[in-house]
């Protein structure tokens, strides 16, 4: 029991309330946003140092005992995600300082960012299925606000699609929660996992897994359910698109990992091949969708979908090693994808448009921006010294070692397609000669360049120092797949059922 596990939830909550109260002072709400994100980042780092050695950390809300109250659980996967969420939010806030207009700030831009961070951290930490739903709602409400803030016609159109399709997914999730409660009689994840091992009604478990796959799949934008993403992600300001690309779909992935790794592990044997099929389709269709686009952020949006395929492949491989490989990849893609959005967004702001046909000539005008973009796409494609190489290499290794040759081949081929598609942006935005006079364009400001550059440098560093990253994620993958340790950490060595029976008697 660690009482301070609530810190990453409490700090953005109080921060958001304070930032609304002090909304009249723009500087104050900026500082508050910065501070509470830094608190989360520090705490996330501490968790990452502590958790691999100690096993999952647990806290019970209000001190209610585990299967009855709401538990917060931080295992390796949660700790990594909490840290990454705070890190990405930090870069977003810094980027926002230099790019968000005053009107948006006045209309609660930073409190909304903090509420997003609150929902995300809560979703990563909670150990209760229904509580996970509540955190999903918190972060969705915040994201609805962020995506429509400003109220231009494009934004409302994209926002509407985003809201409707996400609510559909949320409804499915709620159905799943209800079914699960009726089926297992509990919503505590550890308790569900324990009962799932003993309950014998395989048909219903399969149905439940299907419902959750639909719910989280639509959040993660896997293949038949991705339509909301490319139609809405290019409409809000760059900073908002970037943080969405880094966090929103990855929460769906995290939930899939959690639900299939912990709650419905038995179902993985049945769903594994289908998940790999979906993963392959998602990779290919995402990257092919990008080919037809002529807008920087739309191309990048389709690549989010394609990259999600790799993360899903991690679960589809249905083993602790698969989960670990998927986690390495997800961590890498969160960082690199955001970096590309920041840099592409900066290019867009310089040119005043995201239309590839009307951009060009930035390589000579902004060599630093071009350099970081190039490193970013190399990393995304998986060229050796960068983090993308490590992420893909491990996934492919696990794929080969489990004789999943087809998906492995598809994954490798998709990397090449990804690189070609990214080269298109490179050619159009940076390399080709501009039709207009480039020297008239405004210079990129340091604040717009720095967040993306920092993330690219981080990606390079992760590629060079891959050992600790892989080691950490191997432990995290094992923890995510180890039901007994999770149950013991949440409910004690006798398990949740023993606590439950003792209380009922």
């Amino acid at each position: 029991m660690v009482f301070h596990l609530f810190l990453p939830i409490v700090s953005p909550l109080i921060g958001a309330a304070l930032a609304v109260l002090l909304n009249r002072l723009p500087l104050a709400s900026r500082l508050i946003a910065l501070l509470s994100t830094l608190i989360n980042l520090g705490y996330g780092l501490w968790l990452m140092v502590t958790v691999p050695a100690s096993g999952p950390l647990v806290a019970q809300a209000s001190g209610w005992l585990a299967p009855f109250g709401i538990s917060l659980v931080a295992d390796g996967m949660s700790a990594l995600m909490v840290m990454l969420a705070a890190l990405l939010m930090l870069t977003t806030i810094i980027y926002s300082f230099f790019s968000i207009d005053y009107e948006r700030e006045r209309h609660f831009y930073y409190p909304l960012l903090l509420l997003l961070l609150l929902g995300v951290s809560g979703a990563f930490l909670t150990g209760d299925l229904f509580n996970l739903y509540v955190w999903f709602e918190v972060l969705l409400v915040a994201s609805f606000g962020l995506i429509t803030l400003g109220g231009s016609r494009d934004q409302l159109e994209g926002g509407l699609k985003y809201v409707v399709l996400n609510l559909l997914g949320s409804t499915a999730f709620l159905f799943g929660c209800g079914l699960m409660y009726g089926f297992a009689g509990t919503l505590n994840m550890a308790h569900i996992a324990e009962r799932m091992a003993t309950l014998t009604n395989p048909g219903l478990q399969t149905v439940l897994a299907g419902v959750f796959l639909f719910a989280f799949g639509s959040k993660a934008a896997i293949v038949p359910l991705f339509f909301w993403l490319p139609s809405s992600y290019h409409t809000p300001p760059v900073a908002v698109t970037a943080i969405f690309s880094g966090l929103m779909t990855k929460i769906g992935v995290y939930s899939l990992y959690r639900v299939f790794g912990l709650l419905l592990q038995n179902e993985l044997a049945i769903y594994g091949p289908w998940l790999t099929l979906l993963a392959g389709l998602t990779m290919v269709i995402g990257v092919l969708g990008a080919v037809a686009q002529m807008n920087v952020r739309r191309i990048l949006s389709f690549h989010i979908i394609s990259q999600i395929g790799y993360s899903i492949m991690g679960i589809g491989l249905a083993s602790a090693a698969g989960l670990a490989a998927g986690l390495v990849f997800t961590a890498h893609v969160m960082i690199v994808k955001m970096a590309l959005f920041f840099i592409g967004g900066a290019a867009e702001q310089i040119n005043g448009t995201g239309d590839l046909k009307r951009m060009g000539g930035l390589a000579r005008r902004e060599p630093l921006l071009a350099l970081f973009w190039f490193l970013g796409i190399l990393s995304l494609a998986g060229i050796p010294p960068l983090s993308g190489f490590i992420g893909k290499l491990i996934l492919l290794q696990v794929g080969v070692s489990q004789q999943a040759y087809l998906i492995t081949a598809v994954a490798a081929a998709t990397s090449i397609l990804t690189f070609f598609s990214m080269l298109k942006i490179w050619n159009e935005v940076f390399w080709k000669k501009s039709y207009e006079d480039v020297s008239r364009l405004p210079r990129v400001r340091f604040g717009l360049l720095a967040p993306g550059a920092a993330l690219v440098i981080l990606s390079v560093a992760l590629g060079l120092l891959a050992g600790p990253l892989v080691e950490y994620n191997t432990i995290a993958g094992q923890q995510a797949f180890d039901r007994d340790a999770y149950i013991a950490a949440v409910c004690g060595v006798d398990g949740c059922e023993a606590v439950y029976q003792a209380a009922v008697r």
Binding site: V20, D101, D154
Partner: protein, 143 residues
């Protein structure tokens, strides 16, 4: 009606810990008192009688509710672990951090509910925002 409903709402707020009532119900009652004013006399009069910024009230409510979970955190207990005063205060009942948390909920519910009602009756002040970079909204989203 308004003072009566307000008193009832505070009564509801305080009896709520172990009986039906509590911050949410109390907040709804108080909000309905204000909304009745809006319906009867229009939003301007209602704003004059109770000159409150309801958005800030809601934010204050969240802040107030959240901070009463903190003492437990500082004492090394899980967030929101309850603390109670040993003796009940006559006329008010037992006071502890959950009651104070409920007060936060109370303010939040008043703030949010009334703000929504005000936005529905007033001319919109949030949208459109013509000074933002993007194009302003068409009129059909307004009303």
């Amino acid at each position: 009606m308004m003072p009566l409903l307000m008193m009832l709402s505070i009564f509801m707020l305080l009896r709520g810990h172990n009986l039906p009532g509590g911050g949410f119900i109390g907040g709804l009652l108080a909000a309905s008192a204000i909304i009745l004013q809006i319906v009867a006399f229009g939003p301007k009069t209602a704003q004059r009688i109770l000159p409150v910024n309801y958005l800030l009230l809601a934010a204050f409510g969240i802040f107030f509710g959240a901070i009463w979970g903190l003492p437990a955190l500082f004492a090394g207990l899980p967030y929101m672990q309850a603390f109670w005063l040993p003796e009940p205060i006559p006329g008010v009942g037992k006071i502890g951090t959950p009651v104070l948390f409920d007060v936060g909920v109370y303010f939040t519910v008043i703030g949010v509910t009334t703000k929504i009602a005000l936005l529905l009756v007033e001319e919109p002040t949030i949208f459109p925002l013509p000074t933002m970079k993007s194009a302003p909204v068409e009129h059909e989203e307004g009303a």
